[in-house]
Symmetry: C2
DNA sequence: AAGAAATATTTAATCGATTAAACAAAATAT
DNA sequence: ATATTTTGTTTAATCGATTAAATATTTCTT
């Protein structure tokens, strides 16, 4: 801008007015044209850094996901970016890879870069950031994972209780009698809700002669999963099993292949989340589909002041159980 | 900073010196402590925007990938982020979803935000950005995709010719006689190299009685793939097939399941890239593994002035062909 | 022709930091 | 007691934009 101003012998302010289309009625059309032409010729791009500093508005939203290499989050990121764009915002994102230290670090970077709002999938162990964010009054919304121990935190997620309830109900309605679910050893509330939905439903409406079990992966998924699956089938004689996260499913399904188990004849399977990868499996899989687009849209809308009625609430979306052959009794 | 300064009755400059640890030998240890303590208490975080404006250095690198929901890029992004972090840089990234308009848009955003360097996987149709970037003299490096029509562009990618040559050689060494490959209708150089590697190797060293074919997906992968696979098997009687991108593989493998083809008995298969999803397939797949970490590391290193000998060169990494049962003659 | 109104442009403060240079006060040297 | 260092702190310009308010110029009124 300075260069344009000196080359044309006008003030920087005038250049600014012209290039921003302000005070159009006052500015000489000739001068304006000369400024625009030179800007074009010099390939002028405004320095957004300076702009943001002045406006204290960056038109940027920050997204931190727990793990971008998890397709659930990479798809979520895609929807959020799209939605942000249509609202005139840009999205910058980071991935914490489930590490609280990294989460905090990225959070500080994004706050330092003055994002206008944050969408966060908080990893376990980084909860303490939540009251801090409230304190510094930066607009934010939690997504996917909720933390009921804190008050008045706008949160958008799935009704995880209902989702797993629907899985247990589905198994039972298909006449399966020996149900199992595999979850992670974690305090993350949304995963506990999945467990609760399954366990409570199973205990409440278990028909005569039926059993259910709940297996927990303690630490190292890939090392433990084989034994869990083998035990489930051989010792517990399960005829239906549900994997509570896509990571578990991605680890367990190859084991099912390896153990030469037929789905659904030897065991019925239901997974969480929607994955292209599931299509490579020998049998079309039943899975819980989360309404990613609706969630993304609502989150962005809230942050851009569109939907302030959400403030402080926990929004729980319903999932669809997409039923495929993997959990259907063979006719 | 201003608040700290007024509350303690000192100048903003002093606060700046203290918090940045500059002029340590001159500053009264007492004053320094009071400043640090108050900063701590007020939870002061520097405004990076202002910092960047002053320094014209943002310690941020930009990454634009062709499609973040493609696991090849999401893994690449992960490595690049890690590498950038260890160099003291932050990474902000965007995804163009193969759309040149979007690419250009994100590019402008990142440039406007004054990133210190760019790592780019350029989608087809956005090539014109490359000379522009040269002209404005922003440091950048192309990754994965190369554009030989431009001079002196630092590019890091795979030796795609060699990679597909190794696939064809492998098929032939296994005694397969009817080879096929499936690629995309595109002008992207790296994909043409894959084709060339396969076709030239096949034509050069085709044993008596052997044939090869090269199929092209014109437009809509998911609609066309079924016919391509069916034709390959039924009409062309191929006994070995190679999918030139992971997207093609992800679309083709379900078709192989659907057509009830046995791998490798009915047809041998080789894919590009490494995917967790491949593990769900009934047979362990042979695939081309790209050295993502080495590529990422080199790219970041170059941009942080570590490795300037690369400047203007096209670096081609060798891939590993990870051989699994899917391309082995049954004994 | 003088004043009012409309048009065109500039001045100067500001955003939140950084930093060379100036200044002030205390300690040391002569 | 005065000059010189050393120590401690402030002033003011700067990065690249924005924008209210001031000013200058032209045109219109009567």
């Amino acid at each position: 801008m300075k260069r344009i101003a000196t080359e044309l012998g006008v003030s920087v302010a005038l250049v600014s007015y012209v290039l921003n289309g302000k005070m159009t009625d006052r500015i000489n059309e000739d001068t304006a044209k000369r400024i625009r032409d030179l800007a074009e010729k010099l390939n002028y791009r405004p320095n957004q850094i300076a702009k943001s500093l002045k406006n204290s508005k960056t038109y940027t939203m920050g997204l931190i996901v727990a793990d971008i290499s998890n397709f659930f989050y990479s798809h979520l990121a895609r929807y959020i970016e799209e939605e942000a764009n249509t609202h005139g915002y840009n999205l910058i994102f980071g991935s914490a890879y489930e590490d609280p230290k990294r989460f905090e670090n990225i959070l500080n970077v994004l706050i330092g870069r003055q994002v206008d709002g944050l969408i966060l999938a908080v990893p376990e162990g980084a909860e303490h950031c939540i009251p801090y964010l409230q304190e510094i009054e930066i607009p934010f919304v939690l997504i996917d994972r909720e933390f009921p121990q804190f008050d008045k935190i706008t949160t958008i997620g799935l009704d995880n209780f209902k989702s797993s309830k629907s899985i247990a109900d589905h198994f039972l309605s298909q006449g399966y009698k020996r149900l199992g679910a595999v979850g992670l050893s974690t305090n993350l509330y949304h995963l506990q809700e999945r467990k609760r939905g399954f366990v409570e439903t199973a205990s409440a409406s278990l028909p005569a002669g039926a059993v259910f079990s709940y297996e927990i992966i303690e630490e190292r998924l890939n090392e433990e999963i084989e034994e869990v699956v083998a035990t489930a089938v051989n010792r517990d004689k399960l005829d239906a099993i549900c994997f509570f996260t896509n990571k578990i499913a991605m680890a367990a399904l190859p084991i099912i292949v390896k153990l030469n188990l037929k789905v659904p004849d030897d065991i019925a399977v239901v997974c969480f989340d929607e994955a292209e990868a599931y299509k490579l499996f020998s049998c079309p899989l039943t899975y819980v589909r989360q309404p990613l687009q609706a969630m993304s849209s609502l989150a962005v809308d809230y942050l851009t002041d569109g939907e302030q009625r959400l403030r402080g609430n926990h929004i729980k979306f319903d999932s669809d159980l997409v039923v495929n052959r993997s959990s259907l009794r063979t006719l």
